[in-house]
Structure formats: C-alpha cells, structure tokens
C-alpha cells in the first residue's frame, strides 16, 4: 500500500507528463499542417514526371544502349535499400513499421542469395536496424529537414545514390518510406528507383492507345540523361516529404493517446488517494473512540 505522500508525488509527476505530451501534440499538429501541404503540393510534379518518364521509357523499350539508370546493370545481385525514417522517436509505431518492413525485405533478399546494403535516411531507423543488420548498413544521412525538407537536401541524397550506382556499388535500388494517407494513417511504401519501372497508371494512354509517336527535342537519349537523375531526386524528395508529414501525423496521434492515458491515470490515482486518505481518517477515529471506551 503506497503512502499518501507517494500517491501525491505520483499524481504530480503524471500531471507534468501530461503537460509535456499535450504540448508535443500541439507542436506536431501545427507542423503536420505545414508538412501535409508540402507533401500534397509536391505530388503533382512527381506524378507528372513519372508519367513523362513512362512515356519515354516505353518508346525506348527494347532498344540498345538505353541509359543504365533506366535499364539497370543487367544484374540484380546487389540491392540498395533506402530507408527513410524520422530523426526522433515518440511517434508511435512510425519508425518501427518502416524498420520491420526493411528487415523483411532484407531477409528475403538475403535468403535469395543477394547482397543487401541499407542506406538509412534518419537517425531512428539506423539505430533500430543496427542490431540485426549492422553489417549491411552503409553511411546515411541524419538531421535533414529540420525546417522542412528542401529540394537541395533531397538532391544531396539522390546524388549519393547516383554516384554509388555509377561506381557500380549496387544493381537495384528500392526506397522504403511512409506514405501519408491521413493524420492517423500511414502506409509503408516500397518504390523501386533503379532501374526505373513505369507504373501501369503512368503510361500516357490518354494519347489514345493508337501508339501516338512522340517527337523528341533534342534526342530521346539526351532527354533521358537529364530526366533520369532528375526523376531520382524528385522521387527521393517526394519520399522524404511524405515521410515527414507521416511522422508528424503519427506523433500527433501517439501524443494524443498519451495525453488521454495520462488523464485516465490521474483520475485513478486521485480516487485511490482520496480513498486512502479517508481510510486513514476513519482509522484514526476508531482508534480515538475505542481508546475512550476502554477508559
């Protein structure tokens, strides 16, 4: 049985925890609004770029000498997994779901006899995956997007990936991130970046299925050589923005739950506190009365 003083201290401490979690919730909510707008306004660009690339890719398909970013190295022995997580915790299952997904993917690839390299963007993911796949980790990025993700930051990540690809350090590149659905819902998304795969929806069929032939200015190859690295940066940028918005959403939900739980706990503790206070008073009264009776 905890003493009255213990209970009182406990209540005070839970109250201050509640204050912190509710403040964090507010902060997350306001950051979420900004991150959500950023993520949603970046979608049109990324989608149209994919569509354009899809068109180009289909028209070039099967031709010799397609750029390697498009066609790949012809091998699929070494996989690079770009894992986008948050730098901070206290956001519910946000980081863990990504890490779990990456672990599953890595495990499966390793079982198939492939080499796996994990490229963490965000501190939390790195920390969590270190135990199981520490040997597969390569140097990643941390502390990006403190004040909202900017394109140059994403470009930096994309440049690393391109450089590694050119140096022949991997054959296939997949990015894993949380796609923002709503403040309470995130969806783990895997997207293959290299070699480029055209999504079915992208192939610009609205031209009218007649296989409309595009003209290219300058040549297809020249456009692709610019467009492919650009697309990589854009897709990474999109992934990071989506992840950022998801993170704030997840944190808001987690902190909302925590605040509610703290409230429940305070109520329970207060009832317990009052009960034991009353019990003590009663006990004292009984002691006094029975003392008087004994005389």
């Amino acid at each position: 049985m905890p003493s009255l003083k213990d209970l009182r201290l406990r209540i005070v401490s839970v109250k201050s925890t509640r204050k912190i979690t509710s403040a964090m919730k507010m902060v997350a909510a306001s950051k979420l609004r900004r991150a959500q707008t950023a993520a949603e306004s970046a979608r049109p660009y990324a989608e149209r770029m994919e569509r354009m690339l899809g068109t180009l890719a289909t028209s070039l398909a099967g031709q010799q000498g397609a750029p390697r970013l498009l066609a790949g190295t012809g091998d699929s022995n070494v996989h690079l997994i770009v894992m986008i997580t948050a730098d901070r915790g206290l956001c519910g299952g946000f980081n863990s779901t990504i890490v779990r997904n990456v672990k599953a993917l890595a495990g499966q690839l390793i079982k198939e006899g492939k080499t796996v390299k994990i490229f963490p963007v965000g501190r939390k993911g790195r920390e969590q995956i270190k135990r199981d796949y520490g040997a597969n980790l390569i140097e990643g990025f941390e502390g990006l997007g403190r004040k909202g993700i900017t394109f140059p930051e994403a470009d930096q990540v994309a440049n690393r990936i391109t450089r590694m690809f050119e140096d022949g350090e991997f054959d296939v590149c997949t990015v894993v991130y949380n796609r923002f659905r709503s403040a309470i819902q995130q969806e783990v998304t895997r997207q293959q970046l290299i070699p480029f795969v055209a999504q079915e929806v992208t192939a610009g069929r609205e031209v009218g299925g007649t296989g409309a032939v595009y003209e290219f200015e300058p040549s297809e190859e020249d456009i692709l050589n610019v467009l492919l690295p650009r697309n990589l940066a854009v897709q990474v940028f999109r992934g990071m923005l989506e992840s950022q918005a998801s993170e704030q959403g997840a944190r808001m939900t987690a902190m909302d739950n925590a605040t509610r739980n703290a409230g429940d706990m305070i109520n329970n503790l207060t009832i317990k506190y009052n009960r034991s206070r009353q019990a003590q008073i009663t006990k004292e009264l009984i002691e006094i009365i029975s003392g008087a009776e004994a005389l």
Binding site: A38, S41, A42, P44, Y45, R48, M49, R51, M52, T55, L56, F151, G204, E206, V207, G208, A212, V213, Y214, E215, F216, E217, P218, D222, I223, V226, L227, R230, V234, F237
Partner: protein
C-alpha cells in the same frame, strides 16, 4: 474561337497553373515553340527563359522558368519547371544577386560536377536578368 489546350505548369514545390488557354510559347532547348490545340506529341527539355501564355489574342501572363521539361500531347501541355515565378515578380536586383552568386560559385568550383552546376546557375541568372530587363 479556336479550341483551347490544357496548360499545366508544375514546380517541385507545387502545381502552379492548370487551366485551358489558347496558346503557350515554351522556350525549348532548340528554340522557342508555340503549342496550340492538336499539336504533335512532343517531349522537350526547356532552357531557362520565359513562358508566354496567350489568351484572347494577347499575352495573358508571362512566367519565368529555370529550365525543366515539357510534354505535349494533342490536348495538353505540361511543363515541369525546376523553378518558376511570374515575370512581374522578378526584380533586377534579384537577378544581379543571383548572377554574382553564380560567378562566385564558378570561381570556387573544384570538380567537374561543381563547375557544371555553377554554369547552370549562371545560365539561369542570365536568363532571369533578361526577363527582368
């Protein structure tokens, strides 16, 4: 009244314009080209310059783009700009500031890729100055 074409201008940050217009003149890498309804499908890279939007026989808006890509289908023209802003918002000071920043980058550049990036910046700044002037 000719049929209109759907014009979309997108930058990485957001969808800037999505509206039917009469004609769009895009600064392609091999020269400017005008797009009307029913244009042949075309994909082109865009150099830093100004996009003219024509409506009702006159230029209704002019937008500066810092390079990018354009995709034209029979009914739609999509410009993916790396950066875009209305010409009216550009000031000469802004352009000169970027020009001097680009010059600095060129002198500082050590590697080939850095040099290339700086030269792109320079081209953008010059085009901006043109647009402002």
């Amino acid at each position: 009244m000719p049929d209109q074409i759907n014009f979309e201008l997108v930058s990485p940050a957001k969808l800037l314009i999505s509206a039917p217009v009469d004609m769009v003149v895009v600064p392609g890498v091999d020269g400017d080209f005008g797009v009307l309804d029913g244009h042949t499908p075309l994909i082109s890279t865009v150099r830093p310059g100004v996009i003219d939007v024509h409506e009702g026989g006159r230029v209704s808006s002019r937008i500066f783009v810092a390079g990018g890509f354009a995709e034209v289908t029979g009914t739609r023209v999509t410009v993916l700009a790396e950066e875009a802003m209305p010409v009216a918002d550009i000031t000469a000071e802004m352009a000169s500031a970027r020009l001097s920043a680009a010059k600095e980058k060129i002198t500082d550049a050590n590697t080939d890729s850095e040099k290339q990036a700086a030269e792109t910046m320079m081209a953008v700044a010059l085009a901006m100055k043109d647009a402002a002037g």
